[in-house]
């Protein structure tokens, strides 16, 4: 039996009994579609997380000091000194001081997150300015009342003309010297992503009424030096604080790989669950193939009397099972990709089904058909031609 004729016959019988074929393929269709949806959304989520991390700075090392006593603290000079002593490892450092403050323009209050930072923050994190400049060293050194604001505040408070205007933080007047680009330039600024106000950290500690800085941001010089930079920072903190419980250094690349591991595990579990559907689909195919073998006992007898060997019959039925599940797989892929495109935007993920995922899904569906078609095909191959010819 030639491959092409088996294939053509299989397609023909799929066409002639549409309802039965659809029901046979249903398990495969659902299984493949759910695998595709899961992988598409999972990949989309990974891409989203990665790009968020990229924005925060892939080489970012975040230092949190949790010293219980005011005597054991880490001073900004000490951290700047550390960076200067390790130019090959650390590209930049910036204190990171959150300020609980009310931000007012005129009489209007805006919900903004005010953060005191150093002038090197743009080296550590991506801070794209659409207007003006970022903070300078002199601003920090001389505690100038200047600020850089997010695109949302610029738009809401100043209608996009905030540069050079005045902003009141806890009643102190600050001059806007720069405006940060919207986090997603395509969809425009949002109230929760683009409401930042950067001020010199020296001003921030004064506003907080507390000179102790507990959070620093470092940037390693590259991916390769990340681990060594982290070690250098940790050993210095150990030296300064004397207890590893008093500090924490979070590496963004480690976070990324942890997140990657988590999403990977979750996806594996979900795909495995969807795989059960493929298994059930395979059993469905096996069931219908067994029925088909019985229905076509006479045909098998005829073919055998004409010289079909075991393997000819076996191949014919395996190709039929494989074709059925392959067609189911193609339908499932089409359904899955369109479902992912539909659902993705609803949950805020840009679904991306990779070619590899589609190829694997197709391959798996064919394999399911071939594996589960083997038993019925073998049954057909072993039929006794005399009995088969006599079968009605």
């Amino acid at each position: 039996m030639s491959f092409s004729q088996s294939f053509r016959l299989a397609l023909k019988s799929l066409r002639t009994s549409k309802m039965r074929s659809l029901l046979t393929m249903l398990g495969i269709i659902i299984g493949v579609a759910s695998v595709i949806v899961i992988i598409s959304l999972g990949d989309g989520m990974n891409n989203m997380i990665n790009s968020e991390f990229e924005k925060m700075g892939a080489n970012l090392l975040q230092v949190e000091v949790m010293s219980p006593s005011p005597s054991r603290t880490v001073k900004d000079e000490q951290m700047y000194a550390l960076a200067q002593e390790n130019p090959g490892l650390i590209a930049a450092v910036s204190p990171n001081v959150s300020v609980r403050a009310t931000v007012k323009v005129g009489s209007e209050t805006y919900s903004a997150s005010v953060t005191g930072v150093g002038e090197d923050l743009p080296v550590i994190q991506s801070v794209e300015l659409t207007q003006g400049r970022f903070l300078y060293y002199v601003d920090v050194d001389r505690m100038q009342n200047v600020c850089v604001i997010g695109a949302w505040i610029d738009q809401e408070a100043y209608n996009g003309a905030g540069l050079g205007q005045t902003l009141y933080i806890n009643g102190y007047a600050y001059t806007v010297v720069g405006v940060v680009e919207a986090s997603d330039p395509d969809s425009g600024p949002t109230s929760y992503n683009d409401n930042q106000v950067y001020i010199p950290y020296t001003n921030a500690t004064r506003l907080n009424g507390n000179a102790t800085i507990t959070s620093y941001l470092f940037a390693a010089t590259s991916d390769e030096t990340n681990t060594r930079a982290k070690a250098a920072i940790e050993s210095r903190l150990e030296q300064l604080l004397g207890d590893e419980d008093y500090y924490m250094v979070i590496s963004m690349s480690e976070m990324m790989s942890i997140m990657g591991d988590i999403t990977g595990t979750v996806m594996t579990v979900l795909v495995a669950i969807a795989g059960i559907s493929l298994l059930v689909g395979g059993i469905g195919i096996m069931n219908i193939m067994l029925v088909s073998v019985t229905e076509r006992t006479r045909e098998i007898g005829i073919r055998k009397s004409l010289g079909a060997k075991h393997r000819d019959i076996r191949r014919q039925f395996i190709i039929e099972a494989g074709t059925t599940s392959a067609v189911g797989g193609v339908i499932g892929i089409a359904l899955g990709t369109s479902l992912a495109k539909l659902v993705g935007p609803m949950v805020g993920i840009e679904a991306a089904a990779s070619g590899v995922a589609i190829g694997v899904a197709f391959g798996v569906s064919v394999a399911v058909g071939v594996i589960f078609g083997y038993l019925p095909a073998n049954k057909a191959a072993k039929l006794n031609p005399i009995d088969a010819l006599r079968y009605d």
């Binding site: 030639s2 002639t16 004409l306 010289g307 075991h310």
Partner: protein, 246 residues
């Protein structure tokens, strides 16, 4: 030179509970190239078993069967399949065409299993269809043809592989008498062209169209001779089966 078909002292014994049923009970049959032989017998005479063994669909319990000089009595399934494919052409009572395949595809089947390429297949199948006068119907499905036409398609299929023996099992059984006569005439014509034909039937009026009759009863050969001998058509008396043979 040896005979084309050479069954020597063939037994086929089925075990039914405690009793053994001798479907073939020491049968010796020799058939030569170019013969037209009818194997006749009532139901239960063993003719179907004989046909299965001659057709390499079954193996004897004991005894030897040489087909075209090859011992086929001890072969495995797949070897038998190959012998059937190369040496035998079957014509069945129920035509046994595959309903989903068109006429041409049905006739191509034996060539498909012999591994012939598509061009050879098409040519041989079309030639066989022309031989039975149905080339014009090659794209039709079997269900679109009359019974006589379907039987001619099955004859074409039997011819397509150019077999040494054509084995016809009650080929007229499902046809009306006029179409049946046509099919028989066609088999005689094939025989005149040199084909060896073995016809299995319970019907004397059909058997006499052959040159030679082998009559089986109770698994034994009770007559083996020319078809025009009056003794060839004498039915053995078997109680309870009088009404069955026609």
């Amino acid at each position: 030179m040896s005979h084309l078909i050479e069954l020597t002292d063939v037994y086929k014994i089925y075990h039914m509970g405690d009793t053994d049923i001798h479907a073939l009970d020491g049968v010796t049959i020799h058939i030569d190239r170019g013969e037209f032989v009818a194997i006749v017998g009532q139901s239960g005479s063993g003719k179907s078993t004989a046909m299965n063994i001659i057709g390499c669909l079954d193996v004897p319990t004991s005894g030897s069967y040489f087909l075209d000089g090859v011992d086929v009595s001890t072969m495995e399934d797949d070897q038998q399949a190959e012998i059937r494919n190369r040496t035998l052409g079957f014509i069945f009572q129920q035509y046994n065409l595959i309903p989903k395949l068109n006429v041409l595809e049905n006739v191509e089947l034996p060539l498909l299993y012999s591994g012939a390429d598509s061009v050879t297949r098409r040519q041989a199948a079309m030639a066989a269809l022309e031989r039975v006068g149905l080339a014009a119907k090659c794209k039709n499905l079997p269900s679109q043809l009359s019974g006589g036409q379907q039987q001619r398609v099955s004859i074409a299929r039997a011819l397509a592989g150019n077999p040494s023996v054509i084995l016809a099992d009650e080929p007229t059984g499902a046809l009306d008498s006029r179409t049946g006569r046509e099919v028989l005439a066609f088999l005689q014509e094939l025989n005149r062209e040199g084909n060896t034909i073995v016809l299995i039937t319970h019907d004397n009026s059909i058997a006499v169209k052959a040159q030679r009759i082998i009559r089986l009863s109770d698994g034994k050969v009770i007559y083996d001779g020319p078809a025009d001998d009056p003794k060839a058509v004498v039915q053995p008396h078997e109680p309870g089966e009088e009404g069955e043979a026609t």
